[in-house]
Amino acid sequence: MKAKMRTKKIYTGFFLLLTVLIGTQLLAPVIAPHLDMRSLLAGAVAAVGLFLCFYLPDGRRKVIPFTLLAAAFVAGGFVSGWRRWLVGVLDYFKWLWRDTEPGALLPAENFEWAGVCLLGGVLIGIGLLLERFFLLKELSGFFLLCFMIYCLITEKEIHVVTVSLSIFFMLIVVVELGQENNKGNSKEGEKAGAGRIPGEFNNESGGGKKTTVYLLPFFLLYFIGLLIVPRKPEPYDWQFFKDIYQNIKTAAIIVAQNAEEVLFSGREGFGMAHTGFSGSGKLGNGVADRDREEMRLSLKQGMGMSVYLTGNVFDTFDGESWHESRVETADDHKMDLLETLYAIGRYDGVNIDNYLHAATVAITYTNLKTAYLFTPPKSLRFVFADRETEIIEQGGQWVFPKRKGYGTEYTVSYFQMNIRQPFFAEMLEQENRYRYGENSADYRTVLEPWVLEELPAGDFETALQKRGEEIRARYTQSPAASDAVVGLIATVTADGRTDYEKCKAIEQFLNGHGGVAFKYTTSPAAMPEGGQFPDFFLLESREGYCTYYATAFVLMVRELGIPARYVQGFCVADDNIGKEPISVRGNMAHAWPEVYFAGVGWIPFEPTPGFGTNRYQYWEPAWTYAEEETAAANSPSGPLVVETPPPAAVIPAVTVNEEKGPGFPYEPAAVISAVILAGALLAVFDVHKRRRHYARLSPEDKFKLLVSINLRILRACGYRMARGETLSELQERILAADDRFLLEFITGYEKMLYGRGVINRETVNEAAAERKALMNKIKESGKRHYYWVRFKLLGTGGVTYEYRVNIDKLC
């Protein structure tokens, strides 16, 4: 049984060693190999220690090799120069706490060796000490855990050796706790089985409590291995754990998503029907206002404006729902952006920054599972975390060939538009009148060099013209409108001189500024069977959510012969900006229209009441038009990709938080106090647990516990059992030598041990009383001795902790 236990322990040790070695990826990259004689020597010493540890029969003797090892380590340190050693130790801690470079004061090698010497010695000492004070061991494990978590959270980088050792130690504690729990469970069975007397009758020690002793050589070997094995010189960056965490999370969510898909959804789409965004373009689907996080978004660069993410774009409306024709197009997005850039270049070649602002946004899908790629308008480039990702462009939308789910990660560079500024509208109106090929403005002189590089092959204007015709053909279709609707449109747009003004008028009308009230509701009245949507919405119900307004807008604009499209996606309001990563939730889904202005490109509108503030955000131009000339002379406008925040922006640009300078180490102080507090709580909890455990013990176990404490008290007083001595002989001997004691419990104990005596509550109480009496008598005979005895008892836990050690041994 015992041999089995030992084998098991050895295997556990090996297993742990292996796990941690592999786990911390130490065998991976080889960057800075250095190996010297001392490390080999230390390895040999450790190996000998290991050998001795497992071949010496007595558990206590195992201490000797460790003591020798510790001495060797410390001595080795001193031999290599006590001064360097000392400085190295200081350096280690300095580096540990203050992030100075490892080996700033000394060459890295010495530094590490100082660490080995110090930690080797300290660890062995602590290990042996902890073997005696199990609670302390538990607490140390806990502290280490706290420290690691702290480091993980604050991303503090600590040396890989520290990390590995901490993990190793924690594993030991965990294994021991596990062992203990198992013992507790199987106790009953063992008791019923063998008629063996509780306790160990041979004089060999080594019960279940020596795990640390058993594992210490592994511990040391491992430590040395860490230093010998070639490794990266950088401190540990937690990447491994982050990766593990991320991988597990990804796997779990993907599984959950797939399960969800199988269980709840058979159709194309996302299994979600948001206020704006859904896989289908059906109107009046009803709204499931699911507030689930769909993706995460970080605005990496750009103005802190709302971010509209285009998901899918619809071109055809059949009176009830929108359809995408899913025609594959090449470079549609880029051409759109180039067209806009060209328009601005023609209009105001110098102050492009006033119209467009380069921005970058990073997007990570979380719960969303979709074939659609979400991108802000006027996007230029995508960079996918997974470089293999393929995307297909279909008109205004991007799709993945296969649906993507959790963990899909990409960044988009795009241009924010200053569409609220009057000069933008002016530019728009003027450039809308521009006819490609007619006015022969040479695009090569107007466009910036970097833009020129992006141009498609062939004549740019011809390509734009062709594209405009395609858009006109594709995005003007609409079901025949009734006379009433046509009349309404005519009334609303009566004052509009240009297409843009007409669109604005329609937008204003739908926003409720045209003398007719529109109501925003997520539960609009249902459209009667066979009814026409425009008639119903514009003339009758006049209520709905974004989908309704966007649809109405598109249909009205198309009625005027202007190309428009219906876009679904997410609208991330600007008040989220600065709290990156922003959680894009289901209730942020939105739908809006976009209108194509020939010569300028697609421009979004916001007919939904209440959403205008998100859409029409702006920044102050860097130069006013009055100053245009001087400004143009003074400042060249660089390439747009360069971030140049304007001085007086209404909306502040995103800034990166600066690192705080060094000051009082609040963080470590907070962590230390938190750890102390947690430790205290744990201790209290532990005491409580033990008390409860004691209360739950059977009288027999209680008695055993008390007796073992009593015997320990006696031992602390110097009365050890001689070899071959029986309990009653001991009793006699003590009674003969010391009249302070009564030792009646021994008789009861003998009865329990050798007879078939039943322990009842009275016996237990007697033993408990005797314990008190013993302590009192010791107290009377001398305070110092009393505290000494108390201290010795503390080692095994005093009253309430005792069971850990003794119940196990007894049973």
């Binding site: 003797r61 306790g199 004089n203 073992s708 059992m721 001595e725 041990l753 050798y754 005596g757």
Partner: protein, 327 residues
């Protein structure tokens, strides 16, 4: 018979014996222990220490028949067992029973008889029966032999061989009394008149049937497996000890176990303690050891046995683990 009753009976016998014997309570207890355990006892001591007196006192305390044989070199087995004598009147052989047909037999100076006679007695001790002219006769129960021998004056004696020593459950000695005890003896036995002899006025306090039921009661005593293990350890230790030529036999271990049970019962305990074993190990085991040094005086054997006792760890709880490392 309950344990308490056993203890009371033992108490009665002990107090009764103490009216005659001065001191030697422990020897009396051990003697009683052997009696109850169904063993026989070899009392070894110099003459005049009260061996015969002890045996007689014990016999008198128990309401059973008592016989005494003085062993001499010319003693024949038939002198012990009895023989068939031809009765001319009846014209047939009739059995004249020898002194072994009794309950308590005192075999005085057993080593003075020839091995042949010794063997005859040993058959009675072991088999509890006598065979005369091919006819088997059961001896009365209880049958208890107290043999005495003189460790000095060994000229013209036939020392008991090992095999025969092994038949004795215990070997006891009374030892010379201290001054106070000697004074007590002098006071107690100062009268010359036989009628004033305390032994003469002694009456039986228990019947021989009591002894039988006492033996049955003793089987209630619980012996924990570790106690048996301890006995086995001790036996093994005697066999493996360096200076011992021949260790104890399993018969000895069994004797130790049985006597320990009785010992516990006589102490009024329902279970055996390692202390019982330790108390009995010397009287039960020591005389069976064959040492490779010194004379077989018994003193050396006892010392050796004590040495073994301190070397073999007693079954206690973990408390005893530490001293092992002190060496």
């Amino acid at each position: 018979m309950t344990i308490e009753e056993i203890r009371q009976k033992a108490e009665l016998i002990m107090t009764n014996t103490a009216r005659v014997m001065v001191g030697n309570e422990n020897t009396t207890k051990l003697l009683l222990c052997a009696l109850c355990a169904g063993g026989n006892v070899l009392l070894e001591d110099v003459p005049g220490t009260g061996k015969t007196k002890l045996a007689k006192t014990l016999a008198a305390s128990i309401g059973g028949a008592f016989a005494r044989i003085q062993f001499t070199p010319d003693l024949l087995p038939s002198d012990l067992t009895g023989m068939n004598v031809y009765n001319r009147k009846e014209n047939e052989f009739i059995l004249r029973k020898g002194p072994v047909f009794t309950n308590i037999l005192l075999a005085d100076e057993i080593n003075r008889a020839t091995p042949r006679t010794q063997a005859g007695l040993l058959e009675c001790m072991e088999e509890r029966q006598v065979t005369i002219d091919g006819v088997r006769y059961e001896l009365d129960r209880p049958f208890f032999v107290i043999a005495t021998q003189n460790p000095v004056e060994t000229a013209g004696t036939y020392p008991l061989p090992e095999a025969q020593l092994d038949r004795f459950m215990m070997k006891l000695s009374l030892g010379t009394p201290g001054k106070a005890e000697e004074l007590a003896i002098l006071e107690r036995f100062m009268n010359i008149d036989d009628r004033n002899d305390p032994l003469a006025s002694l009456t039986a306090v228990v019947s021989k049937e009591d002894i039988i039921s006492l033996r049955q009661g003793i089987d209630q005593i619980y012996v924990h497996p570790v106690i048996r293990e301890y006995i086995a350890d001790l036996a093994a230790a005697t066999r493996s000890s360096a200076s011992v030529i021949c260790g104890v036999s399993p018969r000895a271990s069994l004797a130790l176990l049985r006597s320990a049970k009785v010992y516990a019962a006589l102490s009024g305990r329902e279970y055996c303690l390692p202390d019982d074993i330790k108390a009995l190990a010397v009287p039960v085991l020591a005389h069976r050891l064959l040492l490779n040094y010194g004379h077989q005086t018994g003193r050396e054997n006892e010392n050796k046995m004590r040495e073994i006792l301190t070397a073999v760890p007693a079954p206690t709880e973990n408390f005893g683990e530490r001293p092992a490392n002190k060496k």
